[in-house]
Amino acid sequence: MWQKRLAALIVLILGTAAGWYVYSSEVSASRPFKLGLDLSGGTQLVYRADLSAIVGGDVADSMSSLRDTIERRVNLFGVSEPIVQTQHAGTLAGAPEERLIVELPGVTDTQKAIELIGQTPVLEFRLLKADAIPSDISTSTVNEYFESAAITGKDLKSAQIQFNQAIGGIPNEPVVLLTFNAEGARIFAKLTKDNVGRYFGMFLDGSPISIPVINESIPDGKAVISGNFTPESAKELARNLNYGALPVPIELISTQTVSGTLGQEAVTDGIMAGVWGVVAVILFMMFWYRLPGLLAAVALFVYIVAVLALFKLIPVTLTAAGIAAFILSIGMAVDANILIFERMREELAAGKGTKDAIHDGFARAWPSIRDSNISSMITAVILFWFGTSLIKGFALVFGLGVLVSMLTAISVSRTFLMALGIEAKGGFSRFFFGSGVSTRI
């Protein structure tokens, strides 16, 4: 008997410890809950990367360089904890797509967020096709006349403003000197060597800036952009390029902005709903199942602190849908207890003593509990796969809730029921184990 009571005590201590961890880490803000943009307020931007100019298998490379560049720029503007990630998607959208997802917590003006990203220049290099004449180039005919060159903006190391001293150019014209990194220098040397005599176009945000002829191989990895700059515009271009030039053009395909007030309201309402949901479930359980109902309530608390602690430890990014899933899971968490208690009641009605009834009740309810959780897990797993970030938040919390609740409902309430050690067959304990309005089936 004392072993069972010790086990119950350990469960209580563990539950209290988890509760204390959740509480203290929240109060001291050492490890607060991670809130999604719809709760913390902020903007999410989704871009499609135009990779049509990328040759061969350079896609992954370009995408990671794209991500780094945007990340640098976002950090530059002092956005706290931004998330910039790439995503290969769109197999279900028709053609496959490479996407860039930018999350900016705290930025609640969509237009400002877009401008923040939009200032990042796209630097591209292209070779004029052999049969084309470079005179009538406009933005619309770029793709017609130019083919992509092996070098891209991601190979750039630095840019700086200079004043043209070269013979043949306009004296003292401001130009931008590009220095490629080691890899870029090697590619550029080969490119210039192989294409002597051809026109080499430099494009900024899709417009041709400068289209010089390649006179000779350039081994030192330096190129000059001259394009009717004023000193100011050359300076700005050099600065923007230094912060990072995008290796490929990007196009905005989706935005989502939630204001901080709306997010805060959702959090407050979510907490209130959670608290009252727990109260309703516990009242019902105690009314209908009496003493076991009370134990189910204790098990429910253990479930709640365990899941909340997991939210912090994993960590799970909470969204409004995630909170909904958690509240839903509170209602489902006691379902295993209900199945067990109903079975126990049947065993009692069949004339067994309380101890045997508890034991058999658990054993016989198990297949039902397992089955109900399997069907919910199927949904959770598929939803997680199906998910946008919103639905993934729901699926993760829901799946986690189903798993943890199965453990707590079975092990915790079992431990407590056993620890009570009620052996009597008498009317007193029968009343406490009885349930509902009548004991008749």
């Binding site: 719809d38 499609r48 998607a89 769109g90 279900l92 959208a93 028709g94 797509e97 969509t110 237009q111 877009i114 395909i253 989706s254 935005t255 989502q256 939630v258 204001s259 709306l262 309201e265 959090v267 309402d269 979510g270 209130m272 709903a273 949901g277 309703a280 479930v281 019902f284 359980m285 209908w288 409004a320 849908a321 909170i323 909904a324 509240i327 839903l328 209602g331 379902d335 209900i338 199945l339 109903e342 049947e346 297949p367 039902s368 089955d371 109900s372 069907s375 919910s376 897990m377 199927i378 949904t379 598929i382 939803l383 796969w385 199906f386 639905i391 729901f394 699926a395 829901f398 089936i441």
Partner: protein, 300 residues
């Protein structure tokens, strides 16, 4: 068991509910949200009193928004704006276009979804729905793999599927009505709700069917002669309390979520409320009576 003996009454009620839902879907139709169609959705909130729809419409048209947009009152002091894709320029002027002297407005939420993402979500939703149905079918087949008499095991599976279809038609029909009344749109959350209903509701049906088979087995072992309808009714009597109670606790939390939870999950909670109620109803009033009806027909 009255539910089994008077089953035709419940078939009639069930039929009427399904018919009503189908009529609701047919008449009101489902409005697909920007998740699936692409476009723009804005939640506008006024600090003072909100202007009337006509004034705001004119102002938005002046700001260059094309005629295809719609405005619907939301809450006591706001509007929900739905439009097709907007340009950078339109986005920039939006904040100014909705503000008036004396009633400053802010955009609480702005979502723009491009056509490719819309198409992708549409396809994903469809695949997820098919996949969940398929997995649950496999699950049912697995749960009922042991052949039993007098009704063969695939009949149990088929009836479980029929109740699932019922459990989906009712909330979809309800949502069509909700869309007509409040302008609710079918979005990814709605699909999530339907999939959750599927996963949750199938279980109640399995519990009662399991009990039917257990009782049949016990009868056989003890050589007890009992009419199938009686066995089925007795099984239902033994399990319906737990079916109702497991659903009740979930319905309590969902009701709380609907009434005081976050605005963004309100329609979601309501859909689940209706769907889980329908699921519990069907597992008690549809599944077992159907089983008995099939058995009766087989005997004839």
């Amino acid at each position: 068991m009255i539910i089994v003996t008077r089953r035709n009454i419940f078939f009639a009620i069930t039929g009427a509910l399904v018919l009503l839902s189908l009529v609701s879907i047919g008449v009101f139709g489902l409005r697909f949200g920007i998740d699936f169609t692409g476009g723009t959705l804005a939640e506008i909130r006024y600090e003072g009193t909100r202007p009337d729809v006509a004034t705001l419409t004119r102002s938005l048209e002046d700001a260059g928004l094309s005629k295809g947009f719609s405005l619907r009152e939301s809450g006591g002091n706001g509007y929900t704006l739905r439009a097709s894709a907007i340009t950078d320029e339109q986005r920039g002027t939006l904040a100014a276009a909705i503000s008036y002297d004396g009633s400053a407005a802010r955009i609480d939420q702005l979502t723009e979804i491009g056509p490719t993402i819309g198409k992708e979500l549409r396809n994903k939703a469809f695949i997820a729905l098919v996949l969940v149905l398929l997995c649950i079918l496999l699950f049912i087949a697995f749960a009922f793999r042991k052949v039993s008499k007098p009704v063969s095991s695939w009949v149990y599976g088929l009836i479980a599927l029929v109740t699932l279809i019922h459990d989906v038609i009712i909330p979809v029909g309800f949502f069509a009505l909700l869309g007509y009344l409040t302008g609710a749109h079918v979005d990814t959350l709605f699909v999530t709700a339907i999939l959750t209903i599927l996963g949750f509701s199938v279980h109640d049906t399995i519990v009662v069917f399991d009990r039917v088979r257990e009782n049949l087995r016990v009868n056989q072992e003890r050589n007890r002669k009992e009419d199938f309808a009686e066995t089925a009714g007795r099984s239902l009597g033994q399990t319906f309390v737990r079916s109702i109670n497991t659903s009740l606790t979930v319905l309590f939390t969902l009701a709380v979520l609907y009434f005081i939870g976050p605005v963004s999950t309100r329609d979601f909670a309501l859909t689940l409320l209706v769907g889980i109620t329908a699921g519990t109803y069907s597992s008690i009033f549809l599944a077992t009576p159907l089983l008995v009806a099939v058995e009766k027909r087989r005997v004839k």
